[in-house]
């Protein structure tokens, strides 16, 4: 098992942790932050799977654009769930 396989495994575990954090969080701002962390790790995974163009798009959209859209939506509605 090469160290790249170990790195991919660790990144997938971090992604699952961030997803669980994002699902269980009652504060929706922090949930949006969790989705941003997921897309950072997903971009590194695309990078390791030899697809730098997909990783580039994922970095641009996931880190910057989706966070802005989520924050604007939270600003227009409620911040806390229930």
């Amino acid at each position: 098992m090469s160290w790249l396989a170990v790195l991919v495994l660790v990144l997938v575990v971090v992604q699952i942790i961030a997803a669980l954090f994002s699902v269980w969080q009652k504060d929706l701002l922090l949930a949006a932050l969790g989705t941003s962390a997921i897309s950072v790790v997903l971009s590194v995974l695309f990078y390791l799977l030899q697809a730098p163009d997909v990783a580039l798009t994922e970095a641009a959209i996931g880190v910057a654009l989706s966070t802005i859209i989520f924050v604007i939506a939270i600003k227009k509605t409620d911040r806390y769930e229930e």
């Binding site: 962390a37 990078y47 990783a55 970095a59 910057a64």
Partner: protein, 82 residues
Amino acid sequence: MILYILIVLGLATFFVVHRGLKGPTPSDRIVALDNITTITTAGLVLLGLYFDRYIYIDVALIYGVLSFIGVLTLARYLEGGL
């Protein structure tokens, strides 16, 4: 050589992820996300050196240019503006 450097980077990322999961206030978690993206930029450049492909540096360039916009939006939301 790059393997040991990446292990040190992974240890640093572990501390930052711990702060992001624990952090008492939302600001702590946003600082943690900002640091995750910055450490990821360094890691992507080092992996580009390992794979020895020029196009892999572009992903790190996009990270360096765009990663602060999401954090800026979250900070403006905390301030009450936007």
